[in-house]
């Protein structure tokens, strides 16, 4: 973890985030941006390994940067750092390919722990997010007009994990219930997020094609 992108418009928060990141990754090289177009420039110019992105910025949303990172640098772990904890804001970001999310107002220790977890490949998953993911994949299974849609579906294990998260079980509890290690469960969650991204992009592409927007790039 040496190249890190930081996107936040409030300067105090940005400074605080930077100190936080340095505590977790002391040797990192941090690029700070306060506007979306800046961040997009940076994405085009540099390779990153981790991105911490705010959602609400004056000239746009961090979701665009998430999408850009997915396109150009798929290996980057993009983490949303936001005030909003509701799924209405987080879900689109996850659909666009975010790896995980952090809630800004949590105490420092908690944030550090979560950040470490994320970087180790254990993204968080809340019951409401889980519910939204279930709904998303359920709507995907409906027969589409065109057969071009890439059918991305969850495996049975993944569905089970999702269901239990939606019921409110914590990941350790799920591990105990299914007889799996914490690491395995975390892997499942990562897969779920990845499939969510793929499925959402396919859906968006299909919609764009239907609306005749293809080829305008």
């Amino acid at each position: 973890m040496n190249q890190i992108l930081l996107l936040e418009d409030l300067p105090e928060i940005r400074a605080w985030l930077k100190s936080l990141v340095l505590q977790v990754f002391p040797a990192a090289d941090i690029t700070e941006c306060s506007r979306v177009h800046d961040a997009l420039d940076q994405v085009a110019r540099q390779k990153f390994s981790l991105a911490l992105l705010d959602l609400g910025l004056p000239d746009g949303s961090g979701v665009d940067v998430v999408a850009a990172l997915r396109d150009k640098q798929p290996d980057v772990q993009s983490v949303i750092v936001t005030i909003h904890d509701d799924d209405e804001h987080l879900f689109p970001a996850l659909q666009a390919g975010a790896f995980g999310y952090l809630l800004k107002e949590q105490p420092r220790e908690l944030l550090i722990e979560h950040l470490q977890r994320i970087s180790q490949g254990e993204p968080p998953l809340s019951p409401s997010i889980a519910r939204k993911v279930i709904a998303h994949f359920a709507s995907q299974r409906r027969p589409q007009a065109s057969a071009q849609l890439i059918e991305v579906s969850l495996t049975d294990r993944e569905s089970e994990v999702l269901l239990r998260v939606a019921k409110g079980f914590t990941l350790p509890e799920i591990g105990v219930q299914l007889g799996l290690s914490r690491h395995t469960i975390a892997d499942y969650v990562k897969q779920i997020y990845r499939k969510l991204n793929v499925s959402s992009r396919a859906e968006a592409a299909l919609e764009a094609q239907r609306l005749g927007l293809f080829g305008r790039n």
């Binding site: 409030l10 105090e12 928060i13 605080w16 609400g56 005030i83 909003h84 904890d85 509701d86 800004k104 107002e105 949590q106 105490p107 809340s126 019951p127 409401s128 889980a130 519910r131 998260v165 939606a166 019921k167 409110g168 079980f169 914590t170 350790p172 509890e173």
Partner: protein, 664 residues
């Protein structure tokens, strides 16, 4: 026009009984009424009764030959213009009936017949007045008894009076009668067959009867009734019906064809005029041509009526029919007096063929017509149509039967066509009237249906409009709420966050943090939609268990046993979340517990949560009440806001139980 009249001769019945007619009464008066033709569905019982009545009346009026009247069939015939029977000269012995169409087809003029009969003065009933009766004496006859003229009316010269339709009855004055042999001289004047347009006026003399005046007068009255008076009455009715049809046809575009029915009725009436008017002030040739020319007009009306009633018309047909009328009349005028009969017969055959063809076309059109959607209309229409066909068919049939019988000289008791055709036309007229009444009813029903449909549509439109207005309102409020939420997040949230992360004091940071949480929750309550209880339980479970685990407290969560499908209002969800958070915070911060059990479930329509810990309980106040600190008050007031309640039980060393009840 081939128009038939029939005479009833004394033995007419015997001749007719050879034909297989149903319901032939006892004796030999076989009565052919329209009832025995293909049954008219609606009134057959009535007609059958009528027939029987008629038969009885026939019996009682002595239509049967009485034993007392003499039938004279042998005569001496001489063609002569003299005023009396030529005593000298060749005579011809003939047998009556003598039809000139057979014996002298091209002869026009007068023929004398001499008949002999014996009358005994000593006859017991000799004081009864006698009369001479001729069933048919066409066209006009003068009677001389024993070389003395008997009073008579009518012209024997051209134009000869037309006396062809009714029997001829002349009283024999008793003082002219001889005891013994009597001479009866009859001077018959008639036209040649060729100059006539119909066989009806073919000259001829039927057998002569001499008998009691009363009896013969009765018989004559009967024939008068059936041959003249009844057709007269029917024609009067036809005229009125024709006027009615003409008026009806002007009411609506669809009823226009009725004008043709009116024309048909008027034509038939015109044609029947000679029935009751013996002397028309017109030269015979002209009269015959005029009468002959009515036929093509009738065919025009009949064909147009039939086809237009089915909505089929063609300008070519119109032209053809009119041209036919003109051509026929012209041809009749050209050949008048010569071969008129032949030409008329030819044209009439053509007309009958045309009529039958149009009847067939009518039936075919009827079949091809798509039935309307309304079933009652279909039933009424088809009943009406089949009735029309039956009537027209009946009329044609009567005409044809008459023709057949006339051609074979088979006399019938009465002419079918003179009664059958007007009745049929009257039936068609009444049907037309009924049809108009029916269409009016249908039109009214349609209007009613349209009105109902309209009001339904309007109600639907209003419903949709109000639904749309509601949706619009929802959308607008939703937008407003989102805007408020965004504003709160952006402004207030950002500032609080800054405080959280930049304040030196931990206490300020945590206060700001809590404020941020509260703000988020409030926004959620403002903008949130109702939440499924199951989902809410999932959220709460995750938060509570993870917080307790992080504080190293063993957390047990007991989910409700049964399926819950209730929904929670957003505000209730938010308040319950706050209560749960408060409770868990208390347990983590103050209770010193190591074990916490949360149980939730449904009690009727109430949602119930109990949070139990094994801490050291809440300290008691000095007055025995529980310490009101630790957020108890806020928990209770929040529960009350949701119309629920929050109970706290605690004791030193016994732990604490918080019971929350929320009605859904």
């Amino acid at each position: 026009m081939i128009k038939m009249r029939f005479q009833g001769s004394g033995d007419g019945g015997a001749l007719l009984s050879r034909a297989s007619l149903p319901d032939a009464g006892p004796g030999n008066a076989a009565v052919v009424t329209p009832a025995q033709c293909p049954p008219m569905k609606h009134n057959s019982p009535t007609l059958r009764w009528l027939t029987r009545l008629v038969l009885w009346m026939v019996m009682s009026t002595g239509l049967l030959p009485a034993a007392r009247s003499l039938t004279l069939e042998q005569a001496q015939a001489v063609v002569s213009q003299a005023a009396a029977f030529p005593e000298q000269g060749p005579v011809q012995e003939i047998t009556l009936p003598d039809y000139w169409g057979d014996s002298r087809p091209d002869f026009q003029g007068r023929v004398w017949y001499r008949l002999h009969f014996t009358h005994s003065a000593g006859d017991t009933r000799s004081h009864e007045p006698l009369a001479v009766y001729m069933a048919q004496a066409c066209s006009q006859v003068q009677v001389r008894l024993n070389r003395r003229d008997l009073p008579a009316t009518g012209r024997l010269d051209d134009p000869i009076s037309d006396h062809c339709n009714a029997p001829f009855l002349v009283a024999l004055p008793p003082d002219l009668l001889n005891d013994g042999d009597n001479l009866l001289d009859l001077n018959l004047a008639g036209y040649s067959r060729q100059s006539l347009h119909a066989t009806a006026q073919t000259a001829g003399l039927s057998s002569v009867e001499v008998g009691p005046y009363d009896r013969l007068a009765h018989r004559r009255a009967w024939f008068d009734f059936w041959q003249i008076q009844l057709p007269q009455a029917l024609c009067a009715m036809l005229t009125i019906m024709a006027i009615a049809m003409a008026l009806l046809s002007q009411t609506d575009r669809r009823e226009r064809p009725l004008i043709f029915l009116s024309g048909l009725m008027l034509c038939w009436t015109l044609e029947s005029v000679p029935l009751w008017v013996s002397d028309l002030a017109m030269p015979h040739a002209l009269l015959e041509v005029v009468l002959a020319s009515i036929a093509p007009l009738m065919i025009l009306c009949a064909v147009q009526f039939l086809l237009r009633m089915q909505g089929w018309q063609h300008p070519g047909l119109d032209t053809f029919l009119i041209v036919q009328c003109v051509l026929a009349s012209a041809s009749f005028w050209l050949v008048r007096d010569n071969r008129l009969f032949l030409l008329s017969s030819l044209w009439d055959t053509l007309f009958v063929v045309e009529l039958v063809l149009s009847l067939g076309l009518y039936v075919w059109l009827r079949k091809e017509a798509t039935p309307p959607s309304d079933s009652t209309l279909t039933a009424a229409n088809s009943a009406q149509a089949s009735f029309s066909v039956i009537l027209m068919g009946l009329a044609t049939l009567t005409v044809l039967i008459d023709l057949l019988l006339q051609l074979t000289h088979k006399p019938a008791w009465m002419s079918l066509a003179t009664v059958g055709v007007p009745l049929a036309l009257l039936g068609l007229g009444m049907q037309a009237i009924r049809g108009v009444a029916l269409s009016r009813r249908i039109a009214e029903a349609e209007v009613l249906g349209l009105q109902t449909e309209m009001s339904e549509r309007i109600a639907e439109v209003e419903r949709e409009y109000s639904a749309m207005a509601e949706r619009k309102l929802e959308q607008v409020t939703e937008r407003e709420r989102k805007r408020i939420a965004a504003d709160l997040h952006d402004d207030l949230g950002a500032k609080l966050l800054t405080i959280v992360h930049t304040s030196e004091s931990d206490r300020i940071s945590s206060l700001a943090r809590e404020a941020l949480e509260e703000m988020r929750l409030s926004v959620r309550g403002l903008t949130g939609k109702p939440v499924h209880l199951l989902d809410a339980l999932g959220d709460w479970r995750a938060e509570v268990v993870s917080r307790l685990s992080q504080a190293n407290i063993l957390a047990e969560w007991k989910s409700p046993a049964e399926e819950v499908s209730h929904t929670l209002q957003a505000r209730a969800y938010v308040q319950t979340t706050r209560i749960l958070r408060e409770a868990v915070s208390n347990i983590i911060k103050h209770s010193g517990a190591t074990h916490c059990i949360v149980a939730c479930g449904m009690q009727g329509s109430d949602f119930h949560v109990s949070i139990q810990d094994n801490g050291h309980g809440i300290p008691m106040e000095l007055d025995g009440r529980l310490d009101r600190g630790h957020g108890m008050a806020s928990m209770k007031s929040r529960a009350k806001q949701m119309q629920g309640q929050c109970l706290v039980e605690s004791g030193p060393g016994l732990g604490t139980v918080i019971r929350l009840t929320i009605p859904l």
